[in-house]
Symmetry: C2
Subunit: 207 residues, 2 copies
């Protein structure tokens, strides 16, 4: 299982600092949606967020104008960009085709979509399917149970990621469950007093 | 009927220039999704996009973290911000409540949602319901027919906006139809050789 550490709602300086500090410590460094929306892809490109060892994911949450947004994001260069499963099938297929052409990857965000909406996307077999629930909904999200349920419904989906309040103990359970390819951790790494030490603690339990 | 002119896929300088040039010419100046995603809300805030006469809409396409994004957008200060109808009901109700509290307005983007998804939102009677189709889908979009169809299905929705390849002749037809509150025009104003002259031509036919 891979560990993805998400950086969100911090200053540009802090985002760039954290991205470079976590480079090589975790498998994937995510710049969460607040980072491109607060500072813009152009600013991120100028500041330099290219990583040397970890993969870089930008959570663009693209829902239209897919090729425009993905082209800008891949220039950073991001390795993985996110598109909403609730976007039109044209948007999703166009960003997937672009990702494949460039040897990068599409992350399909399954926020608030039905099984029918997911079923029309499972042929995109190189994409990562990302399970989580709305941050605004609050409440508890059982990552292990959600993953089991998704895997039962869509056994052919190969690349699955999950996010939502994952702590060290849940990360260990997800690794043991053996379905998910990527566990996404937000504040428990980026918001820790020592983000690198926190990331290493997660890495230990998932390997 | 009001005219909303959308500015998209231009440099930051050009976006700021166009916003101020169209201020007072059209009813609503929109900074399309590419502007916040390319340059970021913080950069826009620092550059100064406050208008003196027209209303300012930022097409944030919020789909999660609603209060975070709307708080930043209203600081610009935007008068109207957009949220996806495909977001969770919590996100939509939270941004609507914030908009009401601040005396601003929520624009609900109806991209790729079913009538059932719309029906759960019609109680938000101060929100603007925005009809359009995915830019990535291409093909023809009949604004007048789409508006008639929406109005038949949801007769109680008071504030309706429509976007999608609207030219002067279609704007005149929408004004005559008398259902839509806002017609949204993109490239035919912002991309014209003389955007102010183009905007005035639209304003003439819709009053």
């Amino acid at each position: 299982m891979k560990l993805q550490a998400a950086i969100d709602r911090v200053s540009l300086d802090q985002a760039v600092y954290l991205a470079h500090a976590l480079d090589g410590v975790v498998d994937i460094v995510e710049l969460g949606t607040s980072i491109p929306k607060d500072f813009g892809l152009k600013t991120l490109n100028e500041r330099g967020v290219a990583l040397t060892q970890s993969e870089l994911l930008i959570d663009l949450k693209t829902i239209d104008e897919g090729v425009y947004e993905f082209t800008k994001g891949f220039e950073l260069p991001a390795d993985i960009l996110t598109v909403m499963a609730s976007a039109s099938i044209d948007t999703i297929e166009q960003v997937y085709a672009l990702s494949e052409k460039l040897g990068r990857q599409t992350f399909i965000d399954l926020l608030e979509v039905s099984d029918d909406q997911i079923a029309r996307l499972t042929h995109l077999n190189h994409a990562i399917f990302g399970l989580h629930h709305s941050k605004d909904t609050g409440g508890n999200f059982d990552a292990v149970a959600s993953v089991a349920q998704f895997h039962a419904a869509f056994p052919n989906v190969e690349h699955i990621a999950v996010a939502g309040g994952i702590n060290v103990s849940q990360a260990a359970k997800l690794a043991e469950q053996g379905i998910v390819e990527i566990a996404i951790v937000g504040g428990k790494i980026a918001g820790a007093d020592d983000p690198v030490a926190a990331a290493k603690e997660f890495m230990e339990v998932i390997k």
